[in-house]
Amino acid sequence: MTRPTGALVIDIEQVTKLYQMGEETIHALRGVSLKIHRNEYLAIMGPSGSGKSTLMNMLGCLDTPTAGRYEFNGKNVASMEDDELADIRNREIGFVFQTFNLLPRSTALANVELPLIYAGLSPSIRRERATRTLQDVGLGERMSHKPNELSGGQRQRVAIARALVNNPSIILADEPTGNLDSKTGVEIMALFETLYEQGNTIIVVTHEEDIARHARRIVRLRDGLIESDGPVG
């Protein structure tokens, strides 16, 4: 069904996530199993409230499952401590958010350098790598601009550069085009396409079929369960 090109990166089995809202228990995920290999391009779709973001947070080690197994690059992350998860996020995962989430008082370059600070890299290496990555996403000219001096598409490019800069195993993007007009959205998807061609592993959450069609595999969620999982066709 998928092309099992590279090594297994993500392996979750029967993962559930419960939220306690006062009296009420919300079953955000009811038992999801998923395997993702290196250099896959995957879209997660589903109606609002189906658990896409919850699954994404889980995959990105921002959250731990209530029950179930989760192995990331062969390591069991379901039982990891906060700081261990922070290090995994820093080294292995690149996040792209719908609202860009750039630091408003820092330049594009400083924003991209941030994950490298947490990786403990020296200022010269940071500068060099951040510069190169910004050039790769086509922002070589805008490095010293603050976020409010950039267009939406440019901001998302900065965010993508920030996700890429530490050479993560996967890139997770939750509705990356949700705040962009359709033309800019297409440009961003083209950038993801390039990154995929270069060998990156990409997971995109989206509402839109048009966006999902850029991916090679689509996982559809409904009420916290996987409804379908297959190649784009």
Binding site: N57, R89, Y118
Partner: protein, 462 residues
């Protein structure tokens, strides 16, 4: 060698020597070891390097944040500013009093006891002192006889000094000064520092020759920079020849100038101004480290000279510079107490303000905290960041407070050069320490809350 080790003092010295030779290199080695490790950790090992980078990044963000919220930050720092101003002003005042005090004490003479009718420092039962017989000049003479006849006396010499305020004139120039009448032996109890001429000798003093030595300010006021030597001045209407000029000495606690004095022979003093008010007898001791002993000896000797019966209360007082300490201590304590109270209060208010502003900052930037966590910030990264922000505001307040105090000190010094103030470098360290501690204490609760935020919850925050 054997002979050397016989005496215990040599033994102790020997052991001490060995201990020093063992522990000094050991201490140095441990110090170097720790320094090397610190260096390796912060500059070579990844974990330490990361911490160092997080520190610099946090400071950068903190200052960007403060710059973006100038008004808010300044208002928040106000409490710290006031606190630091209070604590440094207090330190300056106390330091100034101490400095002025020890300078002034040196002028009074650390090795001088004063036999006088009244004790220094004031009394409540003044009527008990009022009727004491006055101290006459012959007591000094008799004391000297007692001192001479006492084997191993701890006292050296007694000298009578009469004192009275009176104008001194040179033609149209006139200055109110303090006239001191004394004997030629005065120069033995106090080092008389002269810029010109000489002090009067025994013969001149005993015969009451009309000669005088002028204090620096008196000479300046009466002669306007010309040399007063061999010139005549009028002391209470009597012509007196100037034979010497004293070097500048300064003032006692900024109140009472020593450069305002005019010395004349005691006999002349008696003639011009009279000795109705009696004299002080100043007694130099041999060893200022055994002042108590000397004081007891002097008390006994004076009682003998005065013919007091056993059991009778002393009808004189023995004063020493130490008495002033007792007078000043409550003043210093009062300043310290008031200063500490104001400092504590304003720092407390300031700390609450900073805690509040840090809570607001955490709230405003919840999403940023989530983002940072998503990018790999650990709990301590976030904790550090907000702590550093709180500490930075406090440090800015501390520096502002220090500058204010320093400016005030400079202004005061310019306006009143003789006023004793002492802005010591320790105050800088204390203020910085107080600021940092205030920042850490007030920033901790909000920073801890930020560090423990669930990244998912933080990212969802709008």
């Amino acid at each position: 060698m054997k002979a050397l080790l016989k005496r215990p003092a040599n033994w102790i010295g020997f052991l001490l020597g060995i201990l020093i030779w063992v522990f000094l290199p050991l201490g140095v080695a441990v110090g170097i070891y720790l320094a090397v490790w610190l260096y390796l950790w912060l500059f070579v090992l990844p974990s330490g390097k990361r911490l160092r980078y997080e520190f610099t990044e946090s400071f950068r963000i903190a200052f960007a944040q403060i710059r973006a919220n100038k008004m808010r930050s300044v208002l928040t720092a106000l409490g710290v500013i006031i606190g630091i101003v209070a604590v440094t002003l207090m330190g300056t005042a106390i330091g100034g009093i101490d400095k002025g005090f020890s300078n002034s004490l040196a002028m009074l003479g650390e090795d001088i006891l004063y036999v006088q009718k009244w004790p220094w420092g004031g009394v409540e039962d003044w009527w008990n002192y009022q009727n004491r017989p006055r101290i006459t000049a012959d007591i000094a003479e008799k004391l000297n006889q007692v001192i001479e006849s006492t084997p191993n006396s701890t006292l050296e010499i007694a000298v009578p000094v009469a004192m009275r305020g009176s104008p001194v004139k040179n033609g149209e120039y006139k200055v109110n000064s303090v006239i001191l009448g004394t004997t030629g032996e005065y120069s033995r109890i106090s080092s008389v520092d002269l810029t010109e001429g000489r002090f009067f000798n025994e013969t001149e003093a005993n015969s009451g020759r009309p000669v005088c030595i002028l204090g620096a300010d008196v000479a300046e006021a009466l002669f306007q920079g010309r040399s007063p030597l061999d010139q005549s001045v009028q002391v209470s209407g009597h012509p007196v020849t100037v034979i010497g000029v004293l070097a500048k000495q300064g003032s006692f606690l900024g109140l009472f100038s020593f450069d305002n004095q005019v010395f004349i022979p005691l006999e002349a003093f008696k003639k011009y101004l009279g000795l109705r008010r009696g004299v002080d007898v100043r007694v130099k001791v041999k060893d200022k480290n055994h002042l108590e002993e000397s004081r007891d000896e002097l008390e006994g000797a004076t009682r003998r000279v005065r013919g007091q019966l056993p059991g009778e209360r002393d009808n004189f007082s023995i004063n020493e510079q130490q008495a002033f300490k007792a007078v000043l201590d409550p003043v210093k304590q009062g300043i310290a107490l008031a200063g500490l109270f104001i400092t504590g209060l304003s720092l407390f208010v300031g700390a609450i303000g900073i805690m509040n502003i840090t809570f607001v900052s955490v709230k405003e930037r919840t999403k940023e905290i989530g983002t940072r966590k998503a990018l790999g910030a650990r709990r301590r990264t976030i904790l550090l960041q907000f702590l550093i922000e709180a500490v930075s505001i406090c440090l800015i307040g501390g520096v502002a407070g220090l500058l204010l105090t320093y400016g005030a000190c400079l202004g005061l010094q310019a306006a009143m050069p003789s006023f004793p103030i002492d802005f010591s470098i320790n105050l800088v360290f204390i203020s910085m320490l107080v600021s940092v501690v205030t920042g850490i204490l007030s920033g901790f609760a909000p920073a801890w809350g930020a560090a423990r935020l669930d990244p998912v919850v933080a990212l969802r925050y709008e």
